[in-house]
Symmetry: C2
Subunit: 369 residues, 2 copies
Amino acid sequence: MENLLNGIEEVLLMGPGPSAVSDEVYAALSRKTLGHLDPYFIKIMDAIKVQLQTVLETENVLTMPLSGTGSAGMEAVFVNLIEPGDAVLILKNGVFGLRMAEVANRLGAAVEVLEFEWGTPVLVEAVKEQLAGKTYKLVAVVHAETSTGVCNPVAEIGALLKGSATLYLVDAVTSLGGMEVAMDKWGIDALYSGSQKCLSCPPGLAPVSFSQRAVETILGRRRKVPNWYLDMSLIAGYWEGKSRAYHHTAPINMLYGLYQALFLLLQEGPAAVYRRHREMHELLVSGLEKMGLEMLVDASCRLPMLNAVKIPTGVDDAAVRRRLLHDYKIEIGAGLGPLAGQIWRLGLMGHTARSENVERLLAALQEIL
Amino acid sequence: MENLLNGIEEVLLMGPGPSAVSDEVYAALSRKTLGHLDPYFIKIMDAIKVQLQTVLETENVLTMPLSGTGSAGMEAVFVNLIEPGDAVLILKNGVFGLRMAEVANRLGAAVEVLEFEWGTPVLVEAVKEQLAGKTYKLVAVVHAETSTGVCNPVAEIGALLKGSATLYLVDAVTSLGGMEVAMDKWGIDALYSGSQKCLSCPPGLAPVSFSQRAVETILGRRRKVPNWYLDMSLIAGYWEGKSRAYHHTAPINMLYGLYQALFLLLQEGPAAVYRRHREMHELLVSGLEKMGLEMLVDASCRLPMLNAVKIPTGVDDAAVRRRLLHDYKIEIGAGLGPLAGQIWRLGLMGHTARSENVERLLAALQEIL
């Protein structure tokens, strides 16, 4: 029998995630599997909680990685906080805001969507106006909109909500590990992320964190969380306290990988890591502009880790991506939804955000275009 | 900073899962991460589907591993097939039957539970009687009840349901890879499993399979699946067909591990693997009985891969397990629920089911007891 794994060739991952994985994280993935109730494994779980609290700048006790990808994190925050009929406001300017609305709708929430043009940020004034007219149980926004490369003003929206009873939910899938995410300072009540973006671990885990207010909301529910697998009150029984109650079997080796990825991030220092992302972004943008390429997003609200560049007229989108992959072993991302065929999405996430990678991509694009 | 991963010591996993992982699977986990839409990765996905179809003895098109642990598989089959008010019969004789009832209840099903004593199997005659009195949309049973070591008569229950409109759902978390699971022959409509039992891959993936009838049930739903993350109609759009639509980012490296685990199973041959499980089980039981220990379950319905042995009177349950772990680096499982303190659960799953492991455990128990 032919083993397909032997045919895997290394690809430089410069799309919207997964991102490049370091040798240390690969090695961590293949450490010996321990039992999910082994005291030494529980020590590692406790350490991961502290690592996440540090990177999220939060003191939230209910902070841990869930056993699913970033989308499971989205599902988890909504299904735990929302009950049928709850008024929810989604601030939408891309695919992931759209997905939030879909998830909340399926859970029976009374969803309202405040829309902004794709490629532009959520406008704080418009949110302020909307909040003046109605009280919501929950307001949700995507920090780093992976589909467009826009950074939304998460801190400013948090300031609008301060002092109100409204819960503030933030998608930090693409931002976490590549730019500051100050959960407590910004007044965020619930947040989810993914392992495969700026944390540079393979996909499979969803860090989440809930404020004390969010925890009280969960404890005060009228009915049980309709999703047993993602019920935070049950998951907390395994991740917290003295007697760890078995809920489901944790993905041990993936958690080793996440531990190592967070270890590397904290060793380099979050501020230095964010600076590296910013510098690599500037290097990339200046190189692209020298080639005559144009960015989709205004410089004032560009993400460092996800760069949306307009595809020049007359250039075959798919053919360029295919050539990059086949001839140069570089993966970049296509546009999604209304931006399909209009942009490429160039990722500079975590371990990918290094100058040799930026230069390799720029050189390849130079040759192809 | 101290890196906790450096302190991991290998433990022989002889509990209820996770099981021992082979070097080949560890190596697979740290193969270079590809993008989730990379054509070569899609080739690997297609191969995993065929591997799973082979091991499940099914032609079901909707067969793939889900991005979560076995419990996510349970959540997925129920949330896709059940709508509020649906009549569901759960056959319960352990923790995992109980969990099924909890999951289905949370989804609003009209759940009835037919109970059997823990440590004894589901009785086919009792099921027949129950089915004579009422029509259910779905009947669910656990094949290998991990909490007790009992094998339930899955084929016989399937025969009762043949020709009816009732869907037949089976939990094959612990059985798959350690004994025959003949999905089509037994008339099973929906099945889920886990990667960390007899497949001997670390935890994190849940193989699932749905019959054509189950697919039609999903397509004919009155309302959308309330769980976006586990909606099979969306997941199928990524795992099937020519144009793979992005749903969520697949857990790439875990899927490498599962591919390798299934590769090894098929290379040895399913029949040989099941025989090995049976033989190791017999070796273990005969060794335990020589020591004067007694099995919980009658020989007629004992599982090969999960052996529940009664704790002798006067023996300190936790102290023995602690000593096995600390002094002998062997993990075994405690009893759950009403069987806590009454039994130990000795796993012989996948790569664990080898004579050197059985002998090592027997020798250690001999010394301690």
